[in-house]
C-alpha cells in the first residue's frame, strides 16, 4: 500500500483508482455531477504511462457499446455517467449481461426523472437492482459511502465482474462524487498482458488460434430452448453471487431498538442521526447495505427479531424500502423517509422522522 494520504473528490478517486487497478479502457461522456471522472483521466493522461485508453465518445450510447467491444476482447473496461446518461446506456447494459461480459459502469446519481436536476439523489435504485434494461438479468451493485470506498470499489467491482463474467455497477450520488475527503489510493497494478488475458478469459474474442473453435460474443440466441438454457445458467450464477457476495456494515446496532437502513451518502447522514438520537436517549442503529444487489436480506431479516421498527432513509420516494419489507416479511413496521429531486436531508430531519414514523 502506498500510504500517502490525499485529499480528493469521489469522482477523482474513481479515475485514479481505475488507472491504478490496471484498467484498459474508459469510455464516457461528460455530465454533472460525474464529469470529474473523465476530466481527471484526461488530465492524468494514463495512455502515456499504463497505456490505458481514455475516450470521450459522441454519446453515452456509443460509450457503452465501446465498453461492450472492449469487454468482449477480455479487456478491463469501464464507463461512467449520471442518471439521464445511465438511462441511455441501459440497452448496452442488458446486452453486456446477456453476453456475460465483465465491465464496470459508474452512476453518480442526480435528481430525476427526465433531465431533472444536477443535485444528489438515490432515485436510480430500482433501475440498478430491478433491471433498467430488458430481460432477466442482474448487476453486481456496490454503493460507496466515502471517497475511500469510491477508490476501493473500482478494483473490487472489476474483480467481481471478471469472477462472475457479469457487469458490475458502482452506484454513487452527487454527494459522494463531489465531496472531498482523505483517501489512500490503491497500489499500482499493471494492465494484463495479451497472454494473461488469453489465459484468464478463454471466452474472449482475442484472435482465433488454430486449435480451438471461434469464440462468439453475443446475447442473441434465436432457439428458445437454447435461450432458456442460457437464462438458467445466468440464474445459477446470480444465485452463487447472492450466496457469496453480500456485503453490509452495521453501525451502533448492538443494542439498537430502532434500525435505520440506508446506503451511500444517506448512510453517512444517518450515522450522525444515530449519534444525535443516542444523545436524546433513543437507541438507534444503522444497517448500511454495501452491495445493493445482492441485497443483505438475511441480515435485515435477523434484525426484524431484535428491533421494534425500521426506517429506510433514501433520497427517493421509497425504493429500497420494498426490499427491506420483503426481508422483514411483516414482522416489524418498516417505514420510509426521503427527500426528492436533489434535496438532501439533514441529520436532525432524520431523527425527527424516526420519532414521527416509528415511535
Amino acid at each position: 500500500m502506498s500510504e500517502e494520504v490525499k485529499l480528493m473528490k469521489g469522482n477523482e478517486a474513481i479515475a485514479h483508482a481505475a488507472i491504478r487497478c490496471g484498467c484498459d479502457g474508459y469510455f464516457g461522456y461528460p455530465i454533472t455531477p460525474q464529469s470529474e471522472v473523465l476530466e481527471t483521466l484526461m488530465e492524468v493522461e494514463p495512455w502515456k504511462t499504463t497505456g490505458m485508453v481514455v475516450l470521450q465518445a459522441e454519446s453515452e450510447v456509443s460509450a457503452i457499446n465501446m465498453v461492450y467491444g472492449g469487454a468482449g476482447s477480455g479487456k478491463k473496461v469501464m464507463t461512467s455517467s449520471s442518471s439521464p446518461g445511465v438511462s441511455l446506456k441501459q440497452e448496452g447494459v442488458s446486452y453486456l449481461a446477456g453476453a456475460e461480459l465483465p465491465a464496470l459502469i459508474v452512476n453518480v446519481m442526480r435528481g430525476g426523472p427526465g433531465l431533472g436536476t444536477i443535485q444528489p439523489s438515490q432515485a436510480d435504485y430500482f433501475q440498478t437492482v430491478k433491471g433498467g434494461g430488458h430481460g432477466d438479468y442482474r448487476l453486481i451493485a456496490l454503493a460507496p459511502a466515502s471517497v475511500q470506498e469510491m477508490a476501493d470499489f473500482v478494483g473490487l467491482a472489476f474483480d467481481l465482474a471478471f469472477k462472475y463474467r457479469n457487469p458490475a455497477i458502482i452506484l454513487a450520488d452527487g454527494v459522494i462524487g463531489q465531496m472531498m475527503e482523505k483517501v489512500v489510493l490503491p497500489d499500482f497494478k499493471p494492465r494484463r498482458t495479451d497472454e494473461e488475458i488469453e489465459k484468464e478469459c478463454p471466452w474472449a474474442a482475442v484472435g482465433k488460434p488454430k486449435n480451438r473453435k471461434p469464440n462468439i460474443i453475443t446475447s442473441l440466441e434465436l432457439q428458445p430452448d437454447a435461450m432458456e438454457q442460457n437464462n438458467l445458467r445466468f440464474q445459477a450464477k446470480y444465485k452463487a453471487i447472492e450466496e457469496n457476495e453480500v456485503r453490509y456494515e452495521e453501525i451502533m446496532c448492538e443494542d439498537a431498538e430502532y434500525l435505520l437502513v440506508a446506503f451511500g451518502s444517506s448512510a453517512r447522514i444517518c450515522q450522525k442521526a444515530c449519534q444525535i438520537a443516542r444523545e436524546k436517549g433513543i437507541k438507534l442503529g444503522l444497517l448500511r447495505p454495501i452491495t445493493l444487489w445482492p441485497f443483505p436480506t438475511k441480515a435485515i431479516a435477523e434484525y426484524a427479531n431484535k428491533v421494534k421498527a425500521m426506517l429506510t432513509v433514501e433520497l427517493n420516494a421509497g425504493q429500497m424500502v420494498e426490499d427491506v419489507r420483503l426481508a422483514v416479511n411483516g414482522k416489524v413496521p418498516v417505514e420510509h423517509y426521503g427527500r426528492l429531486g436533489g434535496i438532501v436531508y439533514t441529520p436532525d430531519e432524520i431523527v425527527e422522522a424516526v420519532k414521527n414514523k416509528l415511535m
Partner: protein, 180 residues
C-alpha cells in the same frame, strides 16, 4: 475536537477555494477532513457555499444543519445561515454589501472588512485569504505553517510565487478582524 464550518457568499468570491485550502490545512495537521460544496448552478453567479469539517475523529455526515462557525460573505447567506450557528458558536462576516446586520446575542459575532482591505492592498484576489486569516485568529484550528503547506498543495506550481502574497493576506486578516 470537531469544528463544523460553513463558508457562504457569492460565486466567484473564492468560497470554495477557501474551503479547499482550509481542508488541505487540516490534512497537513493530521486531521480528518471533509469538504462538501453546494455545486452546480449555485457556483455560477448565485450563492455558493461549502461545508468544511475538521475533526480528530472519523467524520460521519458531510452535510449538516448546524455549524460551530459560519463565515458569511453576502446578505443572502447571512439570512440563511445566521440561524444555523450553534448557540455559543461563531459568526464571522464581511460588512461589505450587508444591509441588515446579524442580531443574535447567543453567539460570538466578528466583523472583518476583507473586501475593502483587499482593494487597499491592491490584491482583490487575496480577499478570501484575508477572511481565512480572520477565522484562524478567532478559531486557531490549524497552524499558519500548515495553511501555507495547504496552499502549496492546492495551488498549481506556476502560482507558487503568489504564496508570500497570500501569507501577507492571512496575516492582515488576523490583524483586522474585530468583535462586533
Amino acid at each position: 475536537m470537531t469544528e463544523e464550518i460553513i463558508i457562504a457568499g457569492f460565486g466567484g468570491q473564492g468560497v470554495l477555494s477557501m474551503g479547499k485550502i482550509l481542508a488541505y490545512s487540516g490534512l497537513m495537521q493530521g486531521k480528518e477532513v471533509s469538504w462538501m460544496p453546494a455545486y452546480g448552478p449555485e457556483q455560477r453567479g448565485g450563492t455558493a457555499n461549502v461545508t468544511v469539517i475538521l475533526s480528530d475523529e472519523k467524520i460521519s455526515s458531510p452535510i449538516l444543519n448546524q455549524y460551530d462557525t459560519a463565515i458569511i460573505l453576502n446578505q443572502q447567506s447571512l439570512d440563511k445561515f445566521e440561524k444555523a450557528v450553534k448557540p455559543g458558536g461563531t459568526l464571522i462576516y464581511d460588512p461589505y454589501g450587508i444591509t441588515s446586520e446579524p442580531t443574535r446575542t447567543d453567539i460570538n459575532i466578528y466583523k472583518i472588512n476583507a473586501m475593502d482591505t483587499s482593494i487597499e492592498m491592491n490584491a482583490p484576489k487575496s480577499f478570501n485569504m484575508i477572511i481565512l486569516g480572520g477565522l484562524l485568529k478567532i478559531r486557531p484550528i490549524v497552524e499558519l505553517e500548515n495553511v501555507l503547506k495547504g496552499l502549496k498543495k492546492t495551488l498549481p506550481e506556476r502560482h507558487h510565487h503568489l504564496i508570500p502574497m497570500n501569507e501577507e493576506a492571512l496575516k492582515k486578516g488576523m490583524e483586522i478582524i474585530r468583535g462586533k
